[in-house]
């Protein structure tokens, strides 16, 4: 397992710095543009999982790398777990890095070319680091959920086919949900209640914790599904 995780990581470690520069530029623009360190951390953290999945998928389809990778002394299960672990670990590392950038932003807020009101808002945000980490965690978890849907199909059928069929499948699921949900619950009223509940700061830890547990659970289920699908893939 260690060999699978490390070899997979070795394949992407050279691009991590490039990706981090992208996260930084986009994140700082979003952060300063929206005048919020929480938004910046959430934005950077949300970018990491999906970019990592696309990076790995791009490499798989390059020069027969995926076939060669399967000749290394690791099982197919280990390859899939290694892939999922790398996406998760690099996403967590990006979250930590984004938080450090937010701390730096908080220190530099007086010298940055931003108006006094925004500077004041960012300074206030910095007094509640848990809120910033929570924002980042929620951004990361939402995108982890998306990668949980994508990854089994990307691993089994390759990125081109997955990108063709998964959105179509999601649209189908969405329309079925739109048709069925009104018969089960009062969706608009539920949404209004949920938004009101989530805006209460006291409920924030529960919301962040719940989303984290839910997304990690679905991520693990997705990993198990990917392992089952990858078992029979011809390479």
């Amino acid at each position: 397992m260690k060999a699978a995780i490390l070899s997979e990581f070795s394949a992407v470690k050279n691009v991590l710095l490039q990706q981090f520069v992208i996260y930084l530029v986009v994140g700082v623009f979003v952060g300063i543009g929206m005048g919020s360190a929480t938004a910046m951390v959430a934005c950077i953290s949300a970018m990491a999982p999906i970019l990592m999945v696309f990076t790995f998928a791009g490499y798989d389809s390059m020069n027969g790398w995926e076939r060669f990778r399967a000749t290394l002394p690791v099982s197919r299960d280990a390859l899939v777990i290694g892939r999922y672990a790398n996406v998760l670990l690099t996403s967590l590392a990006t979250l930590v890095a984004a938080f450090v950038i937010a701390l730096l932003l908080g220190q530099l807020v007086d010298v940055l070319p931003i108006d006094a009101e925004t500077a004041q808002f960012i300074s206030e945000e910095m007094r509640d680091p848990a809120m910033i980490v929570g924002g980042g965690l929620m951004g990361m978890c939402v995108m982890l959920l998306m990668t949980a849907v994508l990854q089994p199909f990307i691993l089994r059928y390759g990125m081109t086919k997955a990108m063709r069929w998964v959105p179509a499948g999601l649209m189908l699921v969405f329309f079925i949900a739109v048709l069925i949900l009104p018969q089960v619950i009062d969706a608009p009223a539920f949404l209004v209640d949920f938004i009101a509940w989530s805006e209460n700061p006291d409920n924030l830890p529960l919301l962040v914790g719940g989303l984290t547990v839910l997304s990690l659970g679905i991520y693990c289920i997705s990993c198990a599904a990917a392992m089952a699908l990858y078992h029979k893939k011809e390479l």
Binding site: A4, S10, L72
Partner: protein, 297 residues
């Protein structure tokens, strides 16, 4: 001699098309098995099957005496694959990465990886560790694959068109390396190649596949030392046919624009009987052509 690879009765079908039809072959310890055949004959598919890269419809693959396949467990994978060095027909490493980073990936995957040995091979092959994989020529990419395949001290090499794209000097260097690899009688090589002259130089046995079926599996010396190819004029061919030297239906030949090439199973006996007919030493290429395209009389 113990077999490092023992493939028995492999069958692979795609719908109604059978791409491997009862394929069997062996790679003995201390031996080099040359695997030849036309494009699309089934060489790469067989190699993929041996490496456990695809599910099979029938047959078994034993590597180092252990059953191996697509769903082998982690421990079996580690035990078997860590002892195999693989070279595929195109350089599979990630193009954006420098050669040095490719070494890091391999180092992470193989417990037996020897960084010093890898660097020595890079030096020997003239590969700059800072150069990106995508900037390598086909030949250089093959050399990088060989360096990676050899740097973890494998017991078995599986090479799919490993000498393709190499210039004649580099090819000889690689062939020397392969000879050196099997010289201790503990290692073995399965090498598929279109360049049969390479196999003339290094193979111990030659296995030929055509349309997914093994058409011959012979010791190379039985082909190149014993057999001959007689270059006959039509009149000579008729004279040989009526001489009783060949049994009826056993004269394998190909009609060429300038005459008829005839397979002589024992060229020394043939030359004694027909001294006036030119009879050359058989090459693997000629034997493959006669076997696959020849007619019988």
């Amino acid at each position: 001699m113990t077999d490092l690879i023992r493939v028995n009765g492999l069958v692979k079908r795609y719908g109604t098309k059978t791409v491997l039809d009862n394929v069997s072959l062996t790679v003995p310890k201390g031996g080099i098995t040359g695997f030849i055949g036309a494009n699309g004959a089934g060489k790469t598919t067989t190699i993929r099957a041996i490496l456990g890269l695809m599910p099979l419809d029938a047959g078994t693959v034993e590597v180092f005496g252990e059953l191996f396949g697509i769903n082998a467990s982690q421990s079996v994978n580690r035990r078997i694959k860590s002892r195999i060095g693989v070279v595929l027909d195109t350089c599979p490493f990630i193009g954006d990465l420098p050669i040095k980073a490719t070494g890091s990936i391999m180092k992470a995957a193989y417990a037996s990886w020897r960084q010093g040995k890898f660097e020595d091979y890079l030096d020997r092959f003239g590969l700059d560790p800072r150069k990106k994989v995508k900037d390598l020529s086909r030949g250089m990419g093959m050399k990088l694959q060989l360096a990676c395949a050899l740097a973890h001290d494998p017991d078995l090499l599986i090479l799919d068109e490993a000498t393709a794209g190499l210039d004649p000097l580099a090819r000889d260097e690689v062939l020397d390396l392969l000879r050196e690899f099997v010289s201790d009688d503990m290692h073995g090589i399965l090498i598929s190649s279109h360049i049969t002259s390479d196999l003339d130089k290094i193979a111990d046995t030659v296995t030929c596949i055509d349309e997914g079926r093994i058409v011959f599996d012979l010791e190379k010396d039985a082909i190149t030392d014993m057999m001959g190819i007689a270059r006959c004029r039509t009149s000579e061919f008729e004279q040989i046919a009526t001489s009783g030297f060949f049994e009826a239906g056993a004269m394998r030949h190909i009609r060429q624009p300038h005459g008829i090439d005839l397979l002589a199973p024992d060229r020394f006996a043939f030359m004694r009987r027909f001294p006036e007919v030119a009879c050359d030493r058989m090459s693997i290429d000629d034997f493959m052509q006669l076997t696959l395209k020849g007619e019988l009389r």
